[in-house]
């Protein structure tokens, strides 16, 4: 299990590096998907399995749109793939940078460790993150309604910005 965890953590760093080394948008979005998946893996390993499931589903739904948008926007016959020279060079530089910085601050880091939320992993009916979801609907109900209102406003704002045929979001530029 520890080995899988190391693998997941390493893939997460790789995902960061792929995004940061500035390839064309397809590959950047791919790195983002890898990053999100690995983040959900870490979250579920630490006891938030329901949260990681919700995050993964919603995030992949958003990533579908990002993929479609980047495929439509960057119709590039020769995209900068991960093996292109500058992408590769900056990726290697970022990886070395991560190794150097983490070896410098590694000693301070291991003191604060994330504990697993549930103590009775096998026999408890109530998982920690399920309890959190229930609390969000009961105690945090007012805040939840306000957040929903903010999202509704976002919908109106986007509709107003893209209203009509000629008025796509950036089409006037």
């Amino acid at each position: 299990m520890d080995f899988i965890m190391y693998l997941v953590l390493f893939s997460m760093i790789l995902g960061f590096v792929v995004i940061a080394s500035n390839p064309s948008p397809f590959f950047g979005a791919l790195g983002l998907v890898v990053l999100a998946g690995m983040g959900c893996g870490i979250l579920s390993w630490h006891g938030g399995s329901f949260l990681s499931l919700v995050l993964f589903l919603i995030y992949l739904g958003g990533m579908l749109v990002v993929f479609a948008y980047s495929a439509a926007l960057a119709a590039d016959p020769f995209p900068e793939s991960l093996g292109s020279r500058w992408v590769l060079i900056s990726g290697v530089i970022y990886l070395v940078g991560v190794v150097v910085v983490s070896s410098l601050v590694c000693g301070d880091w291991y003191e604060v460790i994330w504990v697993v939320m549930d103590e009775l992993v096998d026999f408890s009916v109530m998982r920690g993150d399920m309890g959190g979801v229930a609390l969000m609907y009961s105690w945090g109900g007012g805040m939840l309604i306000l957040s929903g209102g903010a999202l509704l406003l976002t919908l109106f704002v986007v509709l107003e910005l893209t209203r009509g045929q000629s008025r796509g979001a950036l089409r006037s530029i």
Partner: protein
């Protein structure tokens, strides 16, 4: 834009700031800021020509970055200390993060670059909202933060007053000059924030009065660059006579309102034993004064060689309401006798 949509957006613009004012919880404060800036974006893109859409895009990018940093700082605070209260953000890491993010939101100097670009792209009414109402909610958060003895605020303040004066020297566009003037004034508010927060509020109030009057004046005059100012006495002679007083009040010359916050801030800084800081801040205000003087000069104190000058326009009844301009211009020039004495006797 349909009237229903317009009123919804204006309502959300007011509601977002009000939610932030009334919250003591970081999530709610962040949500108010989000609502506020989201409602502002379609209002900026309303004329829908390329420059306005560009300004709206730039505004959205800067504000979204700042809001994400605020949320991140609030969550880091909750992770480290286990509570979300705004006044209790005592750990230096989230405190620094959130101070910088709020500085990005209102346009303080190392992170100010979006403000002139955005303000130049929107019309004068939206620019008025942007430089008055949009500053209130982040400043309310900044006032509630427990700054100890924070050198970060001094750095933000000094660079704001310096860059706000310095970068404004080179401009010919009025809205950019007003943006740099806004940056410089916010620097004056920041420099006193950790010593006397009530003086920050006073400086904010006087700044809002002065900048409203100058924005409304330019809107009535329908000018957006210095060249167009030269013919303004054919359109509005009395206001042309009055405009240097408003501009010099923004610059902070003595018998006018703008002198009050600068005087009290310098007084307080000197009383706290920070003579060097007070001197540098006062000297950077001279840079701002230079471009206010140039605006006054080209608007009212000179006659440029132009045959339009000899042909005044017809004086028709103005189409837009002039009462707000009358009130704000009067208070921008004549409020100095109302200086609260409590600040001076300490």
């Amino acid at each position: 834009m349909s009237p229903l949509m317009f009123s919804t957006l204006l309502l959300a613009l007011g509601l977002g700031s009000t939610v932030t004012f009334s919250s003591s919880h970081w999530l709610l404060a962040w949500m108010g800021l989000e609502i506020n800036s989201l409602a502002m974006v379609p209002l900026m893109a309303r004329p829908h020509f390329p420059r306005a859409v560009e300004a709206a895009t730039k505004y959205f990018l800067a504000q979204a970055t700042a809001a994400a940093m605020i949320l991140f700082a609030g969550m880091t605070n909750a992770w480290m200390t286990g509570q979300w209260t705004i006044e209790m953000m005592t750990h230096p890491l989230p405190l620094t993060l959130v101070t910088l993010a709020l500085g990005l939101k209102i346009g303080l100097a190392p992170v100010h670059a979006w403000l002139p670009e955005v303000l130049q792209g929107v019309d004068l009414t939206t620019g008025l909202i942007l430089s008055t109402w949009q500053k209130l909610a982040p400043l309310a958060l900044l006032l509630q933060l427990p700054h100890g003895n924070s050198p970060l605020l001094i750095i933000l303040a000094l660079s704001s007053t310096l860059i706000g004066g310095w970068a404004g020297l080179n401009q010919t566009q009025l809205r950019k000059i007003l943006a740099y003037s806004s940056i410089a004034h916010l620097g004056w508010m920041m420099v006193i924030l950790q010593y006397a927060p009530s003086l920050t509020l006073l400086a904010l109030l006087t700044y809002i009065v002065m900048t409203s009057s100058i924005f409304l004046l330019f809107k009535l005059n329908n000018t957006t660059n210095i060249n167009a100012l030269a013919t303004s006495h054919t359109k509005i002679p009395v206001l042309t006579l009055f405009a240097p007083f408003i501009l010099l009040s923004l610059g902070g010359l003595p018998p006018l309102t703008g002198f009050m916050p600068k005087w009290l801030i310098l007084h307080e800084l000197t009383m706290q034993g920070m003579g060097t800081l007070a001197t540098i801040t006062a000297l950077t205000a001279l840079l701002s004064l230079y471009f206010y003087l140039r605006l006054s000069y080209s608007m009212s104190l000179t006659m440029s060689p132009n045959n339009l000058l000899t042909s005044p326009l017809w004086r028709l009844r103005p189409h837009q309401p002039t009462l707000p301009l009358a009130i704000s211009a009067t208070s921008a020039t004549m409020l100095l006798p109302l200086t609260p004495a409590a600040f001076l006797v300490r």
